[in-house]
Symmetry: C2
Subunit: 417 residues, 2 copies
Amino acid sequence: MNRTRLDPLGFRAEDAADAAEARGAPNGLDRWLVRQITTRLGDSPVRLALWDDPDLPAREGAVRLRILDRQALWQLLVNPDLHFGDLYSAGRIEVRGELRVLLQEAYRYTTDNTTIGSLLRRARRLAPDLSESKRNIHHHYDLGNDFYTLWLDRQALQYTCAYYADPAMTIEQAQQAKMHHVCRKLRLKPGETVVEAGSGWGGFALFMAENYGVKVRTFNISREQVAYAREWSARRGLTDRVEFVEDDYRNLAGTYDAFVSIGMLEHVGVGNYDDLGKLMGRAIGANGRGLVHSIGRDVTAQLNAWIDKRIFPGAQPPTIREMMDLFEPNGLSVLDLENIRLHYAKTLEQWLERYEENIDKVAAMFDETFVRAWRLYLVGSIAAFLTGKLQLFQALFAKSGANNVPWTRAHVYEPRG
Amino acid sequence: MNRTRLDPLGFRAEDAADAAEARGAPNGLDRWLVRQITTRLGDSPVRLALWDDPDLPAREGAVRLRILDRQALWQLLVNPDLHFGDLYSAGRIEVRGELRVLLQEAYRYTTDNTTIGSLLRRARRLAPDLSESKRNIHHHYDLGNDFYTLWLDRQALQYTCAYYADPAMTIEQAQQAKMHHVCRKLRLKPGETVVEAGSGWGGFALFMAENYGVKVRTFNISREQVAYAREWSARRGLTDRVEFVEDDYRNLAGTYDAFVSIGMLEHVGVGNYDDLGKLMGRAIGANGRGLVHSIGRDVTAQLNAWIDKRIFPGAQPPTIREMMDLFEPNGLSVLDLENIRLHYAKTLEQWLERYEENIDKVAAMFDETFVRAWRLYLVGSIAAFLTGKLQLFQALFAKSGANNVPWTRAHVYEPRG
């Protein structure tokens, strides 16, 4: 347990071994490699430096990537996707200037084969993507509520994309707005029943019961999160209106007025979408409606190797085409699909701000390697959403041919009473 | 030319030949077939009758399908998809009660294998689907402007789904609202340039120029429609702001602030979507946006054989999955996808109402066969949209990673100034 605390992302001592040993003066091959890469970087604001170069600040708008030992240089050349994150986290690569600029450059030049060198081209998969936990929720949850409450919104503990109805909103306001946005799309009415797949800490289930007068049954496989949610529910006097089920969503039974899932689909795996869609279809019966909110992509791609190893093993943001496996084979009709990608970049910026404000507490909870790894994950996710490598889809659906569907979407945008 | 006028949908005299000859009294086999079907129809409101049965009115809510000769009975059994339309048009089948009820029943029971007989099950593809013309616009356009102006909206001649922002709107108001809805999704601003693929009679191009102050270039391969549109444009003093190009959309070149296409995709063919998407991507450059409005489906299916033969040869409404061939391979990102299926049912109801009001004029222009065929097409399309066999998608898109996209969709629903 102590070990988990000290090394929660699974870094092992040997990852950093022998770095000092390899740190003799750069040789001719080292310098030749850097020159090759530099030439091919062209007009990119990214520049490389080796361990004996002076540690200069980066020019305005530019980024200096300092590689601090020979092994790091070679690891970066051999498999940047996997090693960049660990090397950065271990402090064996240093970034002078904006980390976000580096990662956005890496993303932006993904399809540009003319001026950017192979390092940067390969680095397209290097900057981490953000997603949320299911398959490895235990891994992720070992980090503890104390950690997440440092930087998530304090009102509803939403670890998913917020909705900035007004761009000036705080993270608390935007998470409330996100939950209203989903409930209004679903047109929840008092007395209706809702089933939720993936509860997190229970913030959305409790919100629906409190603000829309519905009865909620919600599924989560994390014992710790369920325990937290039940306690929270009791404090708010909602135990008769919200049932937290500690079980896999696949065991969800019964028929409800609405099905909702926020930030779980990323962890389901495309191969399971047909089964999930069948379950959604049964859950809403002939006349219900549902909403799935998920990180997505414009084109199919694998999750970055480092994120897969350290942050979210097995996560897989789907394309719209892939999402159709939920609906098409199962008699479901998509009524409305909204892409709020830029809202996730803003959400992450506000999380990152709080994270940095609490950086001493994070370092005290874990260590410097963790601090850097988590920063890389947050910043890389901002870059991924800003460059369009990741999307955020909300898909509203009903049974194909069900005619009790909203006539327009105007009700979603009416002033709230 | 006279022949085309008299037989515009390609009915030929031989289709109806020998009907009278085959009209001896029903024999044992005829009656046995009807009994088999009737037994299996179960609780369906549809009942069959043969040519010597008394011509009774249908019970309230029920439908009597009278088959008036032996050849018709057998054609219906062998290939209802193809023959129902011709038999109905020729008056060799009569429907007592609501034609729409019959067609909706046929659609509704598509996936129900328990109580409905084989006739009705096969009839799932029998009721016609609605779509619009491109590949066979000449075929379709031979019907003449005089015909369409009898029943389309009188203000903008829109032969595509209207948008009833308020369900009490007239067809004129709802077509204006549809065009506003599209322009607001695209956030058109004065001085911007728009390219349109598929002009129809030019109503939308002229609307954009007049109401949003944009310059429009629009493509159409129908010489007659282009001539009509140019004259209309001149009357409204818009010739310097709207250019009607008589050419295939595939020859569209240049870069514009926005690309728009309403009711053309149905005729492009899924195999051509990748090429169309490439063209759309070039048309909007790095910072433009686009909208595609098309009839669609929840699941892939062939167009009804009769519609394909008589009304719209080659039309193919896509699923969302199929539509992704436009976007995914071409660096385009879907921002917003709206399904307004029920608005097309209402549009068709208002078209049908005007059609029936002008039925004498239609009969004078063509003949009784045409009158019945076109009615079947309109009523069948209503049934297809009401039962969810057809959908209506509007997809808004931009380049993947373009960040000058609308922050929310609230602007679409603000009161118009």
